[in-house]
Amino acid sequence: MSMIKRNRIALIFLLVALMAPLFTDNQYYLYIVTLSFIWTIAVYGMNLIGGYTGQLSLAHAGFFAIGAYSLGLLTVDANVPYWFAFVLACLITTVVGFFVGLIALRTKEHFFAIYTLCVGYIIYLVIYQWDELTGGVRGLIGVPPPSPIGPISFESAESNYYLVLAFLVLVFVFMKFLTESLIGRTYVAIRNSEELAQTIGINTMRQKLVSFVISTFLAGLAGALYASFVRFLGPEISYTMTTFDMLTYLIVGGIGTLYGPLVGTFLIVTITQSLQFMEEYRMLIFGPLLVFLVIFYPRGIVGGIQMWKAKRQFKKRQKMKRTSSTSTHEGGD
């Protein structure tokens, strides 16, 4: 009972998400929501390394593209069975992420951001220029949809929606377990002060590397899902602008919060997609919005709500303390 109560927001989200296809016949809405779920997974990756561990990675569109192109090339050109290719795509991204992280994480703060920005650009340039492999500007066409698992096939929009939702739920649960555990606290300690983290015996390099590798895995997973959902890949998914889009989702939702990626990505993807004219000029609003948020609400929508709730709870507790002379010690969270 208490587990349900503690996770009631997540469960309400899940319930709404499960029922959503029942209320609409509009395939386009379903398409957009599925797309936003895919991006959410990638943004969770960015959140883990940027929000929790404090290292702003600007290469994540690149990792997303590595996952997407790996799946695309393995299925289209190499005829590898779909789910095997899917696992391989995630694995390839993770391995690239490991080696990039090994070097990139030796740099700090600004250097790390610039370094990863350049890594992202290199990935873009390689995809763009190496057209014998990737199709270059023409892109990669005809990525197959996921193959059936047993009796379930993934031809319809609904089935794709539920498949992506299933992955999102897994990622969410994983992030919840991770960030609320001692391991997540370790990442936050590094974000807060790498110096202090080292003096309390944390191998910061190793912890940052693990966090980075998980974050690239999530980007690759999202990329692989994207490839077989959209079924066409162009080099622009790896461009810096895609990373900046992801960053916008994260900042609006709330960097360093569990629900931030979910809220931010869903809001912005659905808003921009439903207002077509926004597509091209979205940054006219989102650019200043980013600036406004980091100055006034650096923890975004979710962070803002959390602050407000924490303040209210604190006031309530003060009041309780005043009314009852014997204050009970509260343990656990």
Partner: protein, 258 residues
């Protein structure tokens, strides 16, 4: 000697911040390192705690050579430290800041979180119990649920002590523990350092407040321009001509010293 440095030298480019320093820190005692600004005190701390690699010389801990060890490994051996700026996370509660101090004694990794293993649960409980224990020890049990940004400077200092103590150290290095704290509160921190020593810990501190040092320290080491110019009991240091010279030479520093 619990910690001993021999010929320890640290140079940054052309500047020798710590120059051929031999220091011994005796177990169960309070050792103070004093000296004018720029004498190399903080650098000495940074080198011993593995933050900077030494240019030359040797550091031993319980006879074991730790010169080349990294900061996190040194912490695992039982050497803890605090910073002048407490480096705490202001937006989190005192408890949340302290709980992570015991992380180095745990083994759980990402897969433990993914599978919610019993080991993770056990270790999280251990960290929390440790945090409660050290918060009680430093006298912050009542403040444990407050945000660090809401507590006083003196309480922040105590919280920083608590983080260090949560690592289960044998020795604690305190970098200006009483800086920015008013005289009455300084007394409380002095009492806390005594309590630490009475509980079997060894304390080594950098401090500018001379009066406090003279009544607290068992042993004083004086640095000037990277070199050790004297060491001894508080009485010996107070009557040492070289030390008086160094402090008078420092001008304004001498005025601060009283």
């Amino acid at each position: 000697m619990l910690i001993e440095t021999t010929g320890l030298t640290k140079a940054f480019g052309g500047l020798t911040a710590v120059d051929d320093v031999d220091v011994g820190i005796e177990e169960g005692k309070i050792t103070a390192i004093i000296g004018p600004n720029g004498a190399g005190k903080s650098t000495l701390f940074n080198v011993i705690s593995g933050f900077h690699s030494s240019t030359n010389g040797k550091i031993t801990f319980n006879g074991e050579d730790i010169t080349k060890k990294k900061a996190f490994n040194i912490a695992k051996l039982g050497i803890a430290r605090t910073f002048q700026t407490t480096n705490l996370f202001e937006q989190a509660t005192v408890m949340d800041n302290v709980v992570i101090g015991h992380r180095l004694r745990t083994k759980s990794g990402v897969f433990d979180a993914l599978l919610q293993t019993p080991r993770l649960k056990r270790e999280e409980r251990a960290c929390r119990e440790k945090a409660e224990e050290v918060l009680t020890f430093v006298g912050l049990q009542k403040e444990s649920d407050r945000l660090v940004s809401d507590i006083s400077q003196e309480a922040k200092k105590r919280a920083a002590f608590a983080v260090a103590l949560a690592t289960d150290p044998k020795i604690v290095f305190l970098d200006e523990p009483a800086a920015g704290v008013n005289p009455e509160e300084t007394g409380g921190l002095v009492a806390l350092m005594r309590k630490m020593v009475n509980n079997g810990l060894t304390v080594c501190l950098i401090e500018h407040k001379m009066q406090m040092i003279m009544e607290l320290a068992d042993h004083i080491v004086v640095l000037n321009q990277g070199k050790k110019i004297a060491e001894g009991t508080p009485e010996e240091i107070q009557n040492n001509d070289t030390v008086i010279q160094a402090y008078l030479g420092g001008g304004e520093e001498a005025a601060d010293a009283h």
